[in-house]
Symmetry: C2
Subunit: 716 residues, 2 copies
Amino acid sequence: MNSSKPSTETSGIEYLYNPRSIAIVGASPHQRKPGGRPLVALKARGYKGTFVAVNPRYDEIDGIPCYPSLLEVPEDIELAVLSVPAAQVLKVLQDGVVKGIKAAVIFTAGFSEVDAEGAALQGEITELAQKHGIRLLGPNCLGLMNLTNSVMASFAHIMDLEPITPQTLAFVTQSGAFGAMIYAEATAAGVGFSSFASVGNEADAGFADCMEYLLDDPHAEVIGGYLEGARDGAKLRQVAERALQIGKPILILKVGRTGAGARAANSHTGSLAGDDEVYDAFFRQMGIIRINDLSELTAFVLLHRSGRNFEHTNIAILGGSGGHGVMLSDRCESLGLSVPEITGTTKQRLEEILPAFGSARNPIDLTAQAGRDPRMPFKCLEVLSIAEGIDIIFMQMFYSDERVAKKIIEIQNSTDKPIVVTARRNGGSESEDVGFEMLKEARIPVLFDGLQGAKAVADLSWYQRKVRRAREDAAKTTPAQPRTNPVADKLLQSGKQLTEFDCKQILQAYGIPVTREKLATSADEAVELAADLGFPVVLKVQSGQILHKTEADAIRLNLGSAAEVREAYEEILENAKKYAPDAEIQGLLVQEMLQGGVEVIVGVTRDPVFGPVIMFGLGGIFVEVLKDVSFRVAPLLRRDAEEMIEEIRGHRILQGVRGQPPVSREALIDVILKVSELVSAYKDDIAELDINPLLLFPDGACAVDALITSTSSGPV
Amino acid sequence: MNSSKPSTETSGIEYLYNPRSIAIVGASPHQRKPGGRPLVALKARGYKGTFVAVNPRYDEIDGIPCYPSLLEVPEDIELAVLSVPAAQVLKVLQDGVVKGIKAAVIFTAGFSEVDAEGAALQGEITELAQKHGIRLLGPNCLGLMNLTNSVMASFAHIMDLEPITPQTLAFVTQSGAFGAMIYAEATAAGVGFSSFASVGNEADAGFADCMEYLLDDPHAEVIGGYLEGARDGAKLRQVAERALQIGKPILILKVGRTGAGARAANSHTGSLAGDDEVYDAFFRQMGIIRINDLSELTAFVLLHRSGRNFEHTNIAILGGSGGHGVMLSDRCESLGLSVPEITGTTKQRLEEILPAFGSARNPIDLTAQAGRDPRMPFKCLEVLSIAEGIDIIFMQMFYSDERVAKKIIEIQNSTDKPIVVTARRNGGSESEDVGFEMLKEARIPVLFDGLQGAKAVADLSWYQRKVRRAREDAAKTTPAQPRTNPVADKLLQSGKQLTEFDCKQILQAYGIPVTREKLATSADEAVELAADLGFPVVLKVQSGQILHKTEADAIRLNLGSAAEVREAYEEILENAKKYAPDAEIQGLLVQEMLQGGVEVIVGVTRDPVFGPVIMFGLGGIFVEVLKDVSFRVAPLLRRDAEEMIEEIRGHRILQGVRGQPPVSREALIDVILKVSELVSAYKDDIAELDINPLLLFPDGACAVDALITSTSSGPV
């Protein structure tokens, strides 16, 4: 390893993925038992390091030396694989400490997934391991396979499958059984894995730790994951940010989208599922591609392997059956890809090639003729490969022998455009297999379900644009550091529920514009302040015990004169005392009355996994009826704020509708980023924050009402 | 056929699907040529009727008698299958007329899909056929297969596939190639077809005609279709309505959802694709299940065959792998199905059966134990089969031999609840095949892609509820007949662009409440009318040449006095004359000024395929920014109006938000139904209609502005 990879040198995860020696503790001569499988696989795959068996009942197992305990193994051991009863795990690890092992994979079930006793035992082994710097995978896991160095520290049946080359997909899974299914199906779809890790209970090394290691594993060109719930949101973020910088795609199948799903994911590995909308936002923010289906992953891997640029997405579809082309075209456009009409010289050239009743439109319909004149598709492909306004070519194929493959490869080599082949397995004659093999070696993606290609193109295109933007950002900006502030310090740590007045002071301290306002403690003072501000004004009670001022009828709008202010003052006080007789009243807020503007909401909630999450939405019925809001996990970059704004369905309202002028997008971005700064600095102190409404104007923004609940103030 | 099926007795389509004798014209001894394939297939499948070959070059083909022309065939011939060059088609049909054939299938291409000359030729053959009552399928089609009587009037290679039993799916396709692909894939998925028809250019018999015949075909339990664009919307509607009454499901894969898709569908068969949103609405209205994918069709067929009731959708998922159960559960909930938490005695019973680290929640996680204790899944299944609050059971299976199948069938027979098996083909040992075969015979659906089952359950549940409601409606209501009206007659046939005042008169004639208003032709009259109505009032210019009154600045709101009215009158007249100097001005409308209410839009547009289509949406920015509208094809039933209202995302606003009282849903339904009555009576006269806004109040509705464009008034 070179000096540019400091993190893996110290994390110790490399002893799981790349140990120089392995001991199987609880080894068995029964080849299909968990203790037998790794031995068989290490031998069969030709692991180059040292490996031994440990079991007091045998002297050797199938020619492999077997020792009564780890302590009696003569060689140094870096990785111990434990296939022993739960009650023996601690003892084996204690031996491991003495022996000086660096890591352990624990297959054994019966820990935190069962009951409190199991959880306590898991705590003991974790503590022991962490004290001595031993990295653990599991317990209650299928283990790990590294196909590139034949480390077979698993008992999964998928070790029996013949590995596919090239080995480029590294997979990490929170569900062993489901991960194994994905492995088997992706292998059948022609996708080769570089490694596979089942993390089980994540007592020590978790999902994000494995992913972090894979960032520096040159074999892992694409990282895939099956996630039920992240244990360490901050770590996952750190990994995702670096992955985006180095351009290594992460694709995650995240379950628990809905109520029941989230329940089940909980019961399955005891993981804490965060709100699915937060996950969705987090993935978008971090450039993680969320997949719904295995085929989206396999198609992505094949497309990515082509090494081509998919950022521009004007697609030409060259098809033999009209129907299929139309379906693919529908799918493309519904995903935001464009299937433009073909015009000009490209159209002329195609019409020279296509038979009378074919179609030079897009999708290009080759009709049944394609089966009779085998050169026609290639002639069209050649035309498209140099056509202006076409970025990507989908080519539907009927068969692929050596001759066909050669022709496609020749055209592919003459252009930078990605060519994606969608084919149908016709029963798979040998000459076809040769053709597909040649295409694969030339890194031309061959998809056997054409429609999945559309989603993979959309994903890869989005990803490549995300990477480019992340790199541009990194080159020109440094993210703001969380900065605390004495006003906020004092108020947030007061242990009291803050009033609107308090909250506005905090917002102001962070440069967020708020309404002009002052606190009055008498009717006279209120009248004086109102005159200073200029009529009309708003009057609101300020009390940590009265957060719903409208409900208490302790707010008066549009007060146009001293007399009205005086009258309102008395009414509000009276109503407040009626509503909450014991409320401690800070005073009455005298506030300027703003007219016009577009109402929006900027809010923050604290997610158990990811910490402060910022929400943006249009105010009023948009939020109440349509739930038209977007989220991002703090801290935010400028591009995150921009994306939040673009993501809401009603964002056009900000550009001005029905004759209204557009409001200031810059002012909105600025408020969102300042809120991010504030809540990042006080991520342990702020439980919730709401600016509702924030009024937007053509030349600025203004927080009209605000509420912050601190973690220390207790329930309201 | 019995007397309750008059339509098929006269349509003649039965001679395509069920002829007693067939002649293959242009027959060939080459078995793989279009003229050879039908002979081979008729023989191979054992067609019971008479069949002969026609070709002057042969005396017999493979033992089948061959004649020089149709005229020389000694037997009566009901169906002629034409595989001759385009130039000979007319001559063959002329012979057919003399011979007295009843129907013809024309494989030949080179007609309207090519050019004007081809279209003219197609016109000639169609005219000839229709004159003599001969039904045509094609030209430019793959032909027709009826698997239940071995009519093989096709040259598609799919005739070679071994038919699957039971034969219950009848399929009609506008794309031959794509239809054949669907046939092949559904066959591979274990779904048996009763018939398959490729309609080609639809010169005579079209997509809807074939479907109409299938309504009375007892073999066709489910009707499937691949549609690019309907030629005859009214016929399709008629078919769909009867299908709903008799409870025979229609599933359609409709392409052309988006811009490019619609373009390609056009070029493919020259069909006229209507707006996709209209198709979507039409399908929902008519109980047609729109599918996106072939697997949705095959899963539906298998579920439907169970004969069980899926209307209630509390689902229990019994799974062996946590991950798979969670994914299925996510999918179910995202489709609106419920996967409820399991509680009470059911939970207790399951916990007695499940191992310690299993999970009695829903999805029910059997863990790896299920592989070891083969009785456990059945014990759980038994508990669920009698559990309250569970309507449907998904059961994930690992293997299915005879013993397993017997056990599941036994439980299925003891309950009314549907049991859906999701399985994984493990390579398909013989004992497994026996098990799956037994389940299939017991009508228990076995799905090999578990997730597709969720969509099929949602589809079938929606469909069954739709059928029930349609039958209830049919029992208690008769749809309103279109009724014309003298006021509407006069105005719509005037040949002039109508003013708001004219339009309101038409609306009023149909009982739609409008603002109180009168027409003034002088300032004095306007003042007088305003006083009668009561101040404040609205004043608007009325001219067929000034439809955008705001743009012309020829509208004044909130006029509170005689003086204001007088002044406004002059201003409006002046502005109108400036805006359109030649405009013919009918007068100025003096209208009551309404306060409050919720703004909605009810509109009508004329679709080229389906005729008048009614639109509903919330007014203002909801329509402008969010495009939050719903459609139905006129005429509407009450349930259609109800569904339109429920479909918009913002429908909660009608129920009252932010302290507003709910508005009258009945008044809104009434307006929508009256608009339907109006546009159905004048479907050829009304090009567009817009009531915008229609104001809704707690106790009624009122059309504030309205515009009708008639087809006779020409461009504005």
